[in-house]
Amino acid sequence: MIGYLGIDVGSVSTNLVFFDDCGVIRKSIYLRTRGKPIDTVQKGLKELGANLPSGTKVRGVGTTGSGRHLTGVIVGADAVKNEITAHAVASSLLVPGVQSILEIGGQDSKIIILRNGVVSDFAMNTVCAAGTGSFLDQQAGRLGIPIEKFGELALQARSPVRIAGRCAVFAESDMIHKQQMGCSLPDILAGLCDALVRNYLNNVGKGKEILAPVVFQGGVAANAGMVRAFEKALDLKVQVPSYFDVMGAVGAALLAREAVARKGASSFKGFEVADMDYQTGSFECSGCPNLCEVVEVSENDRVIARWGDRCSKWSNAVGAKIS
């Protein structure tokens, strides 16, 4: 089997996807990053390698997410792209004709508007993380319910209570207050979903024209309560694609296919990178008053990449010797 590999290293989760030549997704892996991007990517690669038939050829690899640059040098990526482009590319393939993408992940949320298959507008949450996966996770933990049950419970609500959604701190104190008053748990959860959707549409959506087909993706799309809250607020059908939680990785793999078609061969280093030794560190350059924090990545004690220097003195010197 031959195919393409996509890796999305986000703040909360790391996802790997392998799809074959015909565009069929053969394997997808969802792991928690837990602040250790390199270890997690290595673990994912090991698992993926073991699950694919022997003799599988990786023709290209793409990375995305906030850890895309780091992962890119480690695996030898052919395409290193931001999550917005990756998500848009993946949705266009899996949901032909999609015009609006709602994406809520662990630490960020975005909206992508497509017209005629091309991104025409996008926005990402700026200074506020209210309404992202982490907050839902935290609230589920506080209420003692597993996050997987959150949506199911919210759907049982008979009359959702009103929760302030503008700020996570306001939302939490409002929730506690309503709990103490004796409102039922499902009603509170459904109220929270409504509040988060309201916040998303105001804070991220900001009046953009949301037209059908609408796709909802990212980890939070697993929450049926959020899906229903979106449908109610938009008065539109909201689709959740089957690979909603690994869409970034799917997009990265697709972008890798494009990149390899352009440049010919892949730079993928093979599944062996799972067993190699990687070290990262940083130092402050004292070459000028900028005092840049330079990050260095080494593979088996050899420096393979540097970044963070504004003047490119260190990043350009990888492979060469700096006096």
């Binding site: 931001n82 999550e83 008053p289 504004r310 490119s312």
Partner: protein
Amino acid sequence: MRVTFPHMGSLYIPLTALLQTLGVEVVVPPPSSKRTLTLGSKYGPEFACLPLKLNLGNFIEASELGADTVVMAGGCGPCRFGYYAQIEQAILKDLGYELQFIVLEPPERHISELLTKIRHIAGRSSWWQIVQAIRFGYRKALAVDEIERSALFSRPREKVPGSTDDALRRALEMIRNAATPGELPAAREYALALMDEVAVDINRPVLKVGVVGEIYTLLEPFANLYLERHLGKLGVEVDRSIYLSGWVNEHLFYGLARGIGSGKKAREASSPYLRHFVGGHGQETIGEAVLYARRGYDGIIQVFPFTCMPEIVAESILPDISKDYGTHSLTLIMDENTGEAGMVTRLEAFTDLLARKKETKEAL
């Protein structure tokens, strides 16, 4: 008297020249850094905008180097910057820094108010010497602008990554080192030649983006997280809606040097979107965006410090301009966060969008 002033991009180059020509001892604050920001946000009011915090940090660091007098620009309409000099002075006094403030601002009643302040800075220099010093500073500002424009052109086209910034640093140093008006023309020639030496690929396709917004965040690279450099690396040729000489002309000469500042043109272009003054440069931001859109720029980026009211007004109008002219806009809000990854992600996505659109347009 040992004079210092706030940093704003390369402003220190013309300002140092002006003051030194008048025989004033100058203390240039260390370039704005994380330490400047830390000091400023520690002592500044939480809800003030980024420029106040960086100004404050600059003054503290300059005072550590022996400065005893601050020269800064003052009010321009109902934007908070108008009273920053007073606030900063009060904060520094509470902290025990002995700094005298000379605030240059539009005279309330008569031009003599401004002239008295200039007289105070200039000491015993004659008015003729003062005019010569201002001319020298202004010519340095023009030279700095020429060099920076050249960098904006070559950065997206450079063959060796980083070569533009390397040349830029050395070229600006040359302008800075020109000690007399007589030395300046040669230094300028040499600096521009240095910029021309950057190897560029003239056929490389580049995107054109106009950057508009609040002046301080536009001109100070530390405050905008080196926006121009990031865009250049992504293959974008940037044009800024305001350059140093334009700012000096509008704010210190009150538009006396004709044909440089574009404030008036921008205000005219802002109609019908925004016909009123909304404080700060909100109206100019709208006007400049319209001018870029008319000139066929691929995209517009607005930058401003968090909580900047005039720019918030402008931000809400930009989508209408984008729609009417078929262009795209992106707003970046600057505050204390120095992590550049989030901004780079947005810039990358924005340039992807512009590039794809350009491809489809050209394919038709």
